[in-house]
């Protein structure tokens, strides 16, 4: 029986803490891709081979040095129904491709959900650490330590010249993808975002929508990550990302200050209108929800709204996703029905938060 604890609540335990720069940086994530020696990559592995990989990597968990990172729970993807898989994707605990395409795929989750280890995704092993706020260095250190612990028990595919060998040529070398999710409403409103994102892409970083490759930037959320994995050390990659994000935080703060000094009335009006709509509307589609939640989040950060916390806003961002809505209201619903339930959920959550 799969452990459903991980899909029953919207927020991972870690999200409830106050983290550094969390009014702008929502979360920091580091993922390390690794493969075992002498076994074809998951895409080509036979059923027996991928099962062997799963067994081998699950066994590693029993060793004390890995166990030292906390209690882990292994979920075999085959035991999880589609809706729960979708919820795990919405919580960023597994990737869409692990949910949809993997054979003998599994995810190993730490108790607080900050560590998620995917098995038989595109690579045999993907170690992911997801931290709240701006903690990309901490996330890297933890992921790297877990990587060391695994490496003490299994042989990785590694080459002197190319580094860690991965299924996709875009991950070869360090196998490290570090990313930071940022909420940048003031840079969008003051129309500086385009210029900044162009500059970011010129220093080997890339910007995506929040659900990864191909998705749009919804609700002023941007994911900044490194593009290069070969020819730079992990420290250089992390430092580079850290430095750029730090600058972007500075720009966003300046833009927010300017908005509040130059156009306090306008910004207050915008926040309050969005707040009014979210606390009273009967139908809200996902695009509108993302935009209004972004406005309200900004209002909370700027101190224009009482009673709501960033934690509640984080929770709403996850809970208004399609998988979670269906999980909450227990129905296989059409898009238009979903918009009604979404509105209800937002109304109830906001009102409950206000009264508590």
């Amino acid at each position: 029986m799969p452990n459903l604890r991980f899909t029953e609540k919207a927020l991972s335990d870690w999200m409830r803490s106050d983290a550094a720069d969390s009014e702008i940086v929502i979360s920091s994530r580091v993922r390390i891709a690794r493969n075992l020696q002498h076994v074809p990559f998951p895409m080509l592995a036979s059923n027996e081979q991928s099962e062997e990989v799963l067994n081998k990597l699950s066994e590693v968990l029993q060793y004390d040095d890995v166990h030292a990172f906390g209690d882990f729970h292994t979920l075999d993807l085959i035991d999880i129904d589609d809706l729960d898989k979708r919820v795990l994707v919405e919580k960023h605990l597994i990737s869409p491709s692990l949910a949809n395409e993997s054979r003998n795929g599994a995810v190993i989750l730490s108790e607080d959900e900050s560590v998620s280890i995917m098995i038989n995704e595109e690579d045999h092993l993907r170690i992911q650490c997801l931290y709240p706020g701006f903690q990309v260095k901490e996330a890297w250190e933890k992921a790297s330590a877990i990587d060391d612990a695994f490496e003490a028990h299994v042989d990785y595919a590694f080459d002197d010249r190319r580094g860690y060998l991965t299924s996709c040529p875009t991950n070869v070398g360090t196998g490290v993808r570090a990313s930071v999710m940022m909420h940048l409403p003031a840079l969008v409103m003051t129309q500086q975002i385009g210029r900044i994102l162009t500059a970011v892409s010129q220093v080997g970083l890339t910007v995506r929508g929040i659900y990864g490759e191909g998705s749009e930037a919804m609700g002023n959320l941007f994911q900044i990550s490194n593009q290069i994995t070969l020819g730079q050390t992990e420290q250089e990659v992390i430092e580079n990302l850290h430095g750029v994000v730090l600058q972007m935080i500075g720009h966003e703060r300046t833009a927010r200050e300017r908005l509040i000094t130059d156009s306090r009335l306008r910004i207050t009006d915008r926040v309050m209108r969005s707040y009014g709509i979210l606390s009273h509307a009967a139908v809200v589609d996902s695009k509108e929800a993302a935009q209004r939640l972004s406005d309200v989040r900004l209002g909370v950060d700027l101190g224009l709204l009482d009673g709501l916390s960033i934690t509640v806003m984080n929770e709403l961002n996850v809970m208004t996703q399609p998988g979670f809505l269906q999980k909450t209201f227990g129905e296989d619903m059409r898009t238009d029905e979903r918009d009604i339930y979404r509105a209800q959920l937002i109304r109830d959550t906001i009102n409950a938060a206000k009264q508590s």
């Binding site: 493969n35 020696q37 002498h38 076994v39 074809p40 990559f41 895409m43 080509l44 979708r86 595109e122 790297s144 990587d147 060391d148 490496e151 003490a152 042989d155 990785y156 595919a157 590694f158 080459d159 002197d160 010249r161 190319r162 580094g163 860690y164 060998l165 991965t166 299924s167 996709c168 040529p169 875009t170 070869v172 070398g173 360090t174 490290v176 080997g204 659900y211 490759e213 191909g214 998705s215 749009e216 290069i228 994995t229 070969l230 020819g231 730079q232 050390t233 992990e234 996902s286 695009k287 399609p322 998988g323 898009t335």
Partner: protein
């Protein structure tokens, strides 16, 4: 219908994007489409990295001109997993770690384009790592040696040379 971006020109491009059963429609004009190129789903932004890579991989001037020396790309095959180079160039993914060895003659230009570099300088697995670290040390020393020769600091050069010999002996003995 007017373009939803500029609200001025008529919309000539219509997209429907369906993600997790959620349908979103886009109606924009060509000039906004060009400007926002990356944002339009189904084109650049919605394009998978593997599609993009296979574009880079198909580029094979040596194979086409049949120049001597390197084997034509199309004939390359990984003896471990059976993947051919042309399969690799279609899907943009390696079949196993040995593909890196069998396709090696073709990989430098690809890595150069994707990463701007062809060699790993980062973390090394601890258990297999000792030998690799020494190799890197030797490479660093060789650069220093060259430097001191250029600067005509021959005494220092001799010292570095001895250090290199010592390290190389250590590796050979393993």
């Amino acid at each position: 219908m007017l373009c939803q971006e500029c609200n001025k020109r008529p919309a000539t491009l219509h997209f429907t994007k369906i993600v997790n059963g959620e349908k979103t429609e886009f109606h924009i004009c060509e000039s906004c489409a060009r400007e926002k190129g990356e944002m339009i789903p189904g084109t650049a932004g919605g394009f998978s990295i593997h599609n993009l890579l296979s574009g880079l991989l198909d580029f094979d001037p040596a194979g086409k001109s049949g120049s001597a020396g390197t084997p034509p790309a199309k004939a390359l095959q990984c003896e471990e997993c059976g993947m051919t180079y042309s399969q690799f160039s279609k899907i943009g993914r390696f079949g196993c770690s040995s593909c890196y060895k069998y396709f090696d003659s073709r990989l430098d230009p690809l890595f150069k384009r994707v990463h701007g570099s062809t060699s790993h300088v980062g973390k090394v697995p601890a258990r297999a790592g000792g030998r690799i670290k020494v190799k890197r040390q030797i490479a660093d020393l060789k650069r220093e040696l060259q430097e001191s020769i250029t600067q005509e600091e021959f005494e220092e050069a001799a010292q570095i040379r001895d250090q290199i010999r010592e390290l190389e002996k250590g590796i050979a003995q393993e």
